[in-house]
C-alpha cells in the first residue's frame, strides 16, 4: 500500500503526460503481482466495493483525537481525507511485533468481502499501520475520491509501455480482462500468451483526422478523396455482437472507449444486427438535426428520464463500418467499407440510424464552395449542425489513432472577435514560468455610463511559442496588480493588448458575468496594431448568439 501511495502522491503533483507514464511504468516494473494489477484496476476505475462515507472517517478521527484540534486542522487543510491522514495518532500497539502495513492487495480483497459493521475497526487498524502518504491513499481509495489526474487510457498506455506494446492492443483486449490482470502482465513481460478478448462487443480504437491547412491542398489530388459533412455531435462507436447463448448484445462507446450505453437506452434496440458502426450521435427532431447546444442538454445526466428521451430523441449517423458480424473490415479501403456500410444500414432499416451522405465534388474549389454553404450543397435544413467537411482517402484502411494523410478535417471558418487581455495566469508544467492562461474581455456599457470591459472567456492556446514569449513579456511589463498566481494586466482604452480570439460557438451562461460562454476559444492573432478601444463590444456577441440559436 505504501508503494502505491507513493505513486499516487507523485502522480498527483506531476503535470507532464510523458513523465506520468514514466512514473507508472517504473511502478509496474518494480511492483509484484498481484499488487500492480490492483493498482492498475484502481487507476482505471475497475475496482468495485462499497465506498466509505465521509461521516465514518470523521467519527474515526474524533474518537481518536481532540475534536477542537481536528476542527482547527480541517479548517486549515480543507480536505477531510488529507487532514485525517496527516494528524492520525497511531495507537500504542502492545509489544514490539508491529504488524507490517497492509499491501494494496490486502486492502482491496478485504474490502470486497468486509461487512459494513466491521469497516470502522478495520480502517482504524490500517491507519495505525500505514504512514501519512499510505493513510492518505487508503482514505482516497475507500471514499472513492481518487481524482489524481490520471485517465484510464493513460494507465493502460503505461501498462503497454511496460511491454513495449501498442496501447490499442490493450484497449482491444481490455473488456475481456479483470483485476489483478495476471495474464496481461505475463504477456507484457513476455512470460505468457496474449490474452484473448471473448467480449462479444469489444471497443475498437478510433481513427481520427488531422486539421487541414491551406498549404496541404497543393499536394493532394481531389480525385483521391471522398468527402462528407462533419456533423457537430458526439463521435461514437456502436457495437453489436452475439453472446455465448447467441443473444444480441449492444454497446455504445465514446471515442475514448468509455461505455456510454446506459445513457442512451433509446438507441440500443436499434443496434439489432451484429457489427461495429463508427458514427456521430445527434439529436433529431422531426427529421432535423439539432445543434450541439441541444444535444448537450442530453449529456452528462445521471438519470435518463422518459421525458428526456422524448424531448431529445437520439440518432446515430453512420460514417463507417469496422466489422460486419464476425468479419473485421478495418483492413479494407474506405470505398469498400463504405459499400459494406451502405448495405448494412439498409439491412438495419431503422429510423434511428442513417447514412452520413457524401458530398460530391470534382475540385477543391467546388468542395470549398460546399463547405462555405452546406445548406445549398445538400445539407439543407441541417446545415446549422455542420461543422465543416471530412476528407477521407478512398484507398485508406481504418487505422487507429491519428495517422497523417488518410483523413483530414476541414472545419468551417471559426467566429472571430477582437478582445482585450485583462488577466494572465501562469501555466503548468513546462509553462510554469510563463503567463500562458489569458482572460479576455469586450466592451460594454458600465453602470456609471462609461464603457467598461467585461470578461467573456479564457484561452491558453492558439499562439506560437514566439507569440507566447511576446505576451509573457507584455504581461510582466504591464502588470497593475498581483493576486497570487494571477496578474491583472493593464486594460485601458488606449493601453493594453488586443487579442484576436477564434471560437466555435456561443452559449448563454448565467455563470458568466457577461452572460455568454464561448466554445473552444483560442488566440488566433495578436493585434499589437489595434488600440483596445477598437476591440469588439458585447453587443456583437449577443447578436451572434441570436443568429445562432435562431430566436
Amino acid at each position: 500500500m505504501n508503494r502505491f501511495a507513493e505513486l499516487l502522491d507523485r502522480l498527483a503533483y506531476e503535470p507532464g503526460r510523458n513523465n506520468k507514464i514514466k512514473l507508472l511504468v517504473a511502478y509496474f516494473r518494480d511492483t509484484e503481482d498481484p499488487d500492480r494489477g490492483y493498482a492498475l484496476a484502481a487507476l482505471t476505475g475497475a475496482l468495485s466495493f462499497k465506498h466509505a462515507k465521509p461521516g465514518l472517517i470523521r467519527d474515526l478521527i474524533t474518537e481518536r483525537a481532540d475534536p477542537v484540534l481536528f476542527g482547527y486542522s480541517y479548517d486549515y487543510v480543507g480536505d477531510l481525507s488529507e487532514t485525517v491522514a496527516l494528524m492520525w495518532p497511531k495507537a500504542e500497539l502492545p509489544g514490539h511485533n508491529n504488524p507490517p502495513p497492509p499491501t494494496l492487495t490486502d486492502v482491496v480483497t478485504t474490502l470486497r468481502t468486509l461487512g459494513k459493521a466491521e469497516l470502522p475497526a478495520q480502517l482504524a487498524r490500517w491507519l495505525d499501520e500505514l504512514d501519512e502518504t499510505g493513510r492518505w491513499a487508503l482514505l482516497k481509495l475507500v471514499t472513492g475520491a481518487m481524482r489524481i489526474g490520471i485517465s484510464a487510457r493513460l494507465a493502460k498506455t503505461a501498462a503497454a509501455a511496460l511491454g513495449d506494446k501498442d496501447p490499442h492492443e490493450i484497449e482491444l483486449m481490455w473488456p475481456g480482462l479483470s483485476p489483478p490482470y495476471l495474464d496481461l502482465f505475463a504477456w507484457l513481460e513476455g512470460r505468457g500468451d496474449k490474452p484473448v478478448n471473448r467480449d462479444p462487443t469489444p471497443f475498437r480504437p478510433v481513427m481520427l483526422a488531422h486539421a487541414i491547412e491551406d498549404s496541404d491542398f497543393a499536394n493532394l489530388d481531389a480525385a483521391d478523396f471522398s468527402a462528407e459533412w462533419k456533423w457537430d455531435g458526439i463521435r461514437v462507436q456502436a457495437v453489436s455482437g452475439r453472446d455465448e447463448r447467441g443473444h444480441i448484445q449492444a454497446r455504445l462507446y465514446s471515442r475514448t472507449g468509455e461505455d456510454i450505453t446506459g445513457s442512451f437506452p433509446d438507441l440500443a434496440p436499434s443496434l439489432h444486427l451484429p457489427g461495429a458502426i463508427d458514427g456521430e450521435l445527434l439529436v433529431l427532431r422531426d427529421g432535423r438535426v439539432q445543434t450541439f447546444n441541444v444535444l448537450q442538454q442530453r449529456l452528462n445526466r445521471k438519470v435518463v428520464s422518459p421525458k428526456l428521451i422524448k424531448e431529445f430523441p437520439i440518432h446515430l449517423r453512420a460514417y463507417d463500418l469496422l466489422g460486419d458480424d464476425e468479419t473485421d473490415l478495418r483492413e479494407l479501403p474506405f470505398t469498400e467499407r463504405r459499400a459494406h456500410l451502405e448495405r448494412f444500414v439498409a439491412k438495419l432499416d431503422d429510423p434511428r440510424i442513417d447514412l452520413s451522405p457524401t458530398v460530391p465534388f470534382a475540385s477543391w474549389d467546388e468542395l470549398a464552395a460546399a463547405r462555405a454553404d452546406p445548406k445549398s450543397a445538400g445539407a439543407g435544413d441541417d446545415a446549422d449542425a455542420v461543422e465543416g467537411v471530412m476528407l477521407k482517402r478512398r484507398d485508406a484502411p481504418y487505422l487507429p489513432g491519428r495517422p497523417k494523410g488518410p483523413w483530414w478535417k476541414w472545419k468551417r471558418d471559426p467566429h472571430i472577435i477582437d478582445a482585450v487581455l485583462m488577466y494572465a495566469q501562469r501555466g503548468h508544467g513546462k509553462r510554469s514560468s510563463y503567463y500562458s492562461d489569458y482572460t479576455f474581455g469586450v466592451w460594454t456599457s458600465g453602470e456609471n455610463g462609461g464603457d467598461e470591459l467585461v470578461p467573456v472567456g479564457k484561452a491558453y492556446f492558439g499562439f506560437t511559442d514566439e507569440e507566447l514569449l511576446q505576451i509573457d513579456r507584455f504581461v510582466r511589463r504591464n502588470t497593475t496588480e498581483k493576486f497570487g498566481p494571477v496578474r491583472h494586466v493593464v486594460h485601458e482604452p488606449d493601453q493594453g493588448l488586443v487579442l484576436e480570439v477564434a471560437f466555435e460557438g456561443l452559449q448563454r451562461s448565467p455563470r458568466h458575468k457577461s452572460g455568454v460562454a464561448m466554445r473552444f476559444p483560442r488566440i488566433s492573432r495578436l493585434r499589437w496594431d489595434k488600440p483596445p478601444r477598437e476591440a469588439d463590444r458585447l453587443e456583437t456577441l449577443e447578436r451572434l448568439l441570436m443568429s445562432m440559436t435562431g430566436n
Partner: protein, 351 residues
Amino acid sequence: MRPQDILMPVPAGLCCKPGGFHIDPVRPVERALITHGHSDHARPGHGAVLATQETLDMMRLRYGDDFAGSTQAIAYGEEIRLGDVTVSFHPAGHVLGSAQIAVTCKDTRIVASGDYKDARDPTCAPFELVPCDVFITEATFGLPVFRHGDAAGEVSKLLASVKLFPERAHLVGAYSLGKAQRVIALLREAGYDAPIYLHGAMEKITYYYQERGIPLGELRPARGVKKADLAGTITLAPPSATSDVWTRRFPDPVTAFASGWMRVRARARQGGVELPLVISDHADWDGLTATIAATGAGEIWVTHGQEDALVHWCKTKGLAARPLDLVGYGDEDEGETAALTGEANGGETTA
C-alpha cells in the same frame, strides 16, 4: 516579580524593561538581543546588538558592515548581566548560530526560544533544553497535521527522482539561510557526491557555512552553465526563483520545494511544486508539544503561527497559556509561502 514585568510585548517587539533591551525588535531600538539571522528577526539599524558570532556575521553579510552602532558576540552558555537581569544564549537548532535567549530576574526565568527545532540538523548545534518558568514558543507549525518526519527520507525521494529523470534538471526551492545548506548537507550524507549548483542569491551565505567548517562538498554557481550540462543535476534556489524566468536556463526542470508547508497538498499544488519535500527548520507539532512539556514551564506564551491550537493544547494539559501578540514575525516563512503563490522578494530575480 511577575513574568510580564520582566518581558512584555510592545510594538517594537519583546521588551525587557529591567534589562533595558528588546529581543528581535522589528523597529530600530537602543539595545537589541537577536536570536538568529533570518531577516524577520535580525533587522538593521539598532544601537547595540548582542548575538552569537554567526548571527552577527550573517547580519554583516546581509546588511553591510555598519548594520548596527556596536556589536557584541556571546557564546552559547555564557552569562551576561544587563541591568537587573542575567541573560544567556542556548542553541535553538534552527539555523547556524541560532539561539534561545534565557532571561533570569531574581528567581524567575523566561526563555524566549525564537524559532527552533528539535530535529537533527548537520549544519547547526542541536537544540538545548533550558528548564524555565515561562517558555515563549513559536507556533509556525502549531497544528497536529504538521509532522515533518525524517528529512533523510525526503532527500532520498529527491535522489530517486533525479535517477528516474536523468534528462531533466532538478530545482530545489529552499530558503537561502539554513534550509539550503541543510538540504546540501543531507544530500552529501545520502552519498550524493556530484557538484551541486547554486542560484546567485545562495552563494554568499552558503560559502559562509563552508568557512565555518560545515562540509558541503563541491558547489558551483548555476550562472553561465550550458543548458544541456544541467541535465541530471541538482540546483538550490530561493523559492521565488523556481517559478521565475530564471528557470528557463534549465532543461525541463522538476520543481522541488523544501519546506514544512509541503506537508499540505493544497499548499504545494498552489505554487506548481512537482516534488514537495517536507524538510523544515521549525519544530513540528510533536516537537512543539514535547518541548513545551520538557521545559517544565508552568506558563506558555505562544507567538507567530497557529497560536490557537497550541494554546488549546496547553490548556488541556493544565498549563497556563496565552497567545503573545507580536507582529512582524514569520516573514521568513511568509516569504516561502508567498513564493508558492507567485511572488516574493520583489519578483524577478535573474541572478
